[in-house]
Amino acid sequence: MRKLFNRNRKLYHYIILIFLVISFNFFLPRLLPGNPLVNIMGEDISLLTMEEREAVIERYNLNDSIFKQYTTYLRNLVTLNWGTSYSKKQPISSVLWAAAPWTLLLAFSNLVISTLIGIYLGTKAGLKRRKKEDVYLLSGISFISSMPSFWLGMIFISVFSVNLGWFPIYGGYSMWQNYTGISKVIDVLRHLFLPLSTLVILSISNIFLPMRYALIEVMGEDFVFMAKAKGIPQSIIRYKYIVRNALLPVFTVFMLRVGYIFSGSVVIETVFAYPGLGRIMYDAISTRDYPLIQYSFLLISLMVILSNYITDLLYPLIDPRVVNQHENT
């Protein structure tokens, strides 16, 4: 009973947060200087008479009171009637859904690969504490993670695409070749390779560092020492005792990154002209495409909230110590 109550309280907390985010996403673009008129009416806007302009503004409800616009927005949000983008002149949902899979493909594979590599290397470095290998790994990974992402991406393009010609330069797949079946998959993978490797290289440290620190902490815990005293074999201690416990903080980091899955690769998407959400969002802001800003932001924020929520739900299952974690950890 108590448990249920607590869970509900959490949910209630999230609902408030979602409401805040929804409202914020409405007001934020409207507070920006400038307006979306050019993108609605085209570049010859100055030629229109005042009445003609008013008519268009009317049609887009742009001079309703902000409160009225807000309620309309809420209504449309709930009824899933998201409307059309000012600049793309297409339904918002189709704009977002066309781009989301690509971002997901890129970001998700990055998430999986960099997490695995990060855990692997973090374990290596942590277990080899004080050894040369640890120093190499720590300094090497810190160094590559300190490179500007676009810079690394562009160098990759320069070296591997332009000079060596191993990989395509831009895009998600070869658009004018009608590949099907397995060759289509290969084509997509070839396009994915460079942006993905750039992202992976830059995000390894996000997992590597927590993993390494957690490992070192766990290694000093009494129960690990005790396991040795109990005569438990090395490999069991290493994986069942040390690594498994060290994975807990890594899980939190992992879920945090799940939340940023839609927004984490804006720069790389731009560099590699990858057809993802990042570019769309960026353009939406510069063209003051209110609905598109609203909903792409919403998508992103909801993803973060969702992943937080999932973390809250999963954590007690993963770490039995957490019965119902309060916010103060």
């Binding site: 570049e43 080899k128 504490r129 090497g140 393009i157 998600g172 002209a273 003051r288």
Partner: protein, 559 residues
């Protein structure tokens, strides 16, 4: 020579490419013109030629236009193009948001359909340029698709009567076109066109160089001309561009309200250096009277000159003789001449222009601080609500007007008339009685020659006043892979993406009017001198780091 498939990258996403969904004037409209035709069209030299129209006549008042459509016009879905479509297109445009079409359609008073091919269009007021500015621009779209649709942007099908049919569009990804075999001007030379959308201009050039695409809508950056000239497959065409970069003054603001002061600034700016540095010479020097010399209304004479003595002289004359410790001139009240220059931070050439200008102005004792703003924010300060009557909130700004403005005879009126209803582009708040009188006369003129004379007269007025200083018009430089396709035609001020690049016309584009910088084949290996050591530098530490040391005993001890 006909080509089966051509890949031309497009550097922005232009949606479904219908007259109501394209995004930008360039490349959106230019590409859309391959799909949609207009009654008239502009040829490579920007001369009007009839296109969908077979015969036409205009009354002496430039008010009644009698048009006869060609007989062989067909929509892509097989329906015949009739005068019903034409009438509908103009009427329907009035109900839609697009300012471009609305402006043209709103000039029409009535249309009378005589039969399927003949129609009479009557304007509310006489307009000498209705064909070139209106009918040659206005795209005709099918009634059977748009009839009854309230919001034209929601029409997803792209059905035109142009030479190419849009087969497929994927948002942010690509367009695929197929040639219309029985096009009335002949079968297009390229059967299929694929247009991948590559937002990053650098990536477009990379792709071009790597041989992945045949051409791109993106203009080649001047600094790449040399590199690309070295590539034996790539040809470069360049021609005058009509888009301008200018230094805009807020003429309502002291001391910019004084034409002497504006002149002083103009004299202090060394435009040649700007052109040399920023465009590497690929630009034409700004004309004091707005129009580009190659535009129908341009004059060769009125160029600007750099004269620092004159500038100093003028400033001294205005009373700004005192200087403070930093060498900045002081005005009568002792306030230093220190101003803000707004610039679009997202545009590198413009921010560089600003950077050079401020150092040049410093030489005459005027201190200017650059304020880099995001594009839309800049618009909001210079041109709030895109309505000049809303006022303005700046002192100086780097600004620019797009190419098609050069083709409008009334551009000067719109830029400088103090009555904001006419001078709807008068973002500097310029006010001059002499000019206004000329503008009044201009509106009443019905004679082409008189009108051209008036334009010249107005330009002379403006030249002495410098309400803004046009710095340069960047040249249009287009690069293409000549091994893939070589039939490109350069349209003045526009580029190579146009109807004439894909059609075999003997008459319309007899001469290109543009010097094509076909480069002799130079075997140039320099560009492939890739610094391999860089790869080594990157790879060696990586392998060092990843080198594993297997030592089980070690592990035992550590944990």
């Amino acid at each position: 020579s006909s080509v089966d498939t051509l890949t031309i990258s497009i550097h922005t996403d232009e949606n479904t490419l219908t007259p109501f969904t394209y995004v930008r004037g360039y490349p959106g409209i230019e590409v859309a013109r391959l799909v949609f035709d207009s009654l008239f069209t502009l040829d490579a030299n920007n001369q009007v030629i009839p296109w969908m129209v077979e015969e036409y006549s205009v009354d002496e008042n430039f008010q009644v236009y009698e048009l006869t459509l060609r007989d062989d016009l067909k929509w892509h879905d097989g329906e015949k193009v009739t005068t019903e479509d034409v009438k509908f297109a103009f009427e329907y445009a009035l109900t839609q948001n697009s300012s471009r079409w609305r402006r043209i359609a709103s000039e029409i008073e009535e249309m009378e359909i005589l039969d399927e091919r003949n129609i009479i269009i009557t304007l509310e007021n006489s307009n000498l340029d209705f064909i070139s500015n209106g009918l040659a621009d206005f795209m005709i779209y099918p009634k059977h698709i748009y009839d009854g649709v309230e919001d034209a942007t929601l029409v997803e099908e792209t059905v035109g009567s142009g030479m190419y049919q849009l087969l497929e569009y994927r948002s942010e990804q690509y367009y695929k076109f197929k040639a219309v075999e029985d096009y009335f001007m002949g079968t297009p030379k390229v059967k299929n066109i694929t247009m991948p959308i590559i937002n990053d201009s650098g990536a477009n050039f990379q792709a071009l160089r790597a041989g992945e695409i045949a051409a791109t809508t993106a203009q080649l950056a001047p600094e790449l001309v040399e590199t690309f000239e070295g590539n034996r497959n790539i040809n470069i065409k360049s021609g005058p561009g009509f888009g301008s970069t200018l230094l805009q003054f807020n003429t309502e603001e002291y001391p910019f309200n004084d034409s002497k002061f504006r002149q002083a600034i103009a004299y202090a700016i060394d435009i040649d250096e700007l052109i040399e540095r920023i465009t590497l010479g690929y630009a034409d020097k700004g004309n004091l009277g707005f129009y580009h010399p190659n535009s129908p209304y341009g004059r060769q004479t009125s160029t600007h000159s750099y004269n620092i003595e004159k500038s100093n002289e003028l400033l001294d004359m205005l009373g700004f003789t005192e200087k403070n410790a930093q060498g900045i001139r002081l005005d009568a009240e002792g306030t230093p001449l220190e101003f803000e220059l707004l610039v679009n931070g997202g545009s590198a050439p413009r921010s560089r222009t600003a950077e050079i200008i401020i150092s040049q102005l410093m030489d005459v004792g005027i201190k200017v601080n650059i304020v880099a703003l995001e594009g839309n924010t800049l618009d909001d300060r210079v041109w709030p609500g895109f309505d000049v009557s809303h006022g303005r909130n700046y002192e100086m700004s780097i600004w620019g007007w797009s190419g098609p403005m050069q083709l409008n005879s009334d551009a000067l009126i719109r830029l400088f008339a103090s009555d904001f209803a006419k001078g709807n582009l008068n973002i500097g708040g310029y006010n001059n009685d002499v000019f206004d009188d000329l503008a009044e006369k201009f509106a009443k003129t019905l004679n082409l020659q008189d009108r051209d004379d008036l334009i010249q007269e107005m330009m002379e007025v403006i030249e002495g006043e410098v309400p803004f200083l046009t710095l340069y018009y960047g040249e249009t430089i287009m690069a293409y892979d000549s091994t893939k396709y070589d039939g490109w035609v350069m349209q003045d001020g526009m580029g190579i993406i146009n109807k004439f690049s894909f059609l075999d016309l003997d008459t319309a584009v007899a001469q290109e009017g543009v010097v094509s910088t076909e480069v002799e084949e130079v075997s140039n290996n320099q560009s492939s001198s890739f610094p391999w050591w860089v790869v080594l530098v990157l790879i060696i530490p990586a392998t060092l780091i990843l080198k594993r040391r297997k030592n089980r005993e070690d592990d035992e001890e550590v944990i």
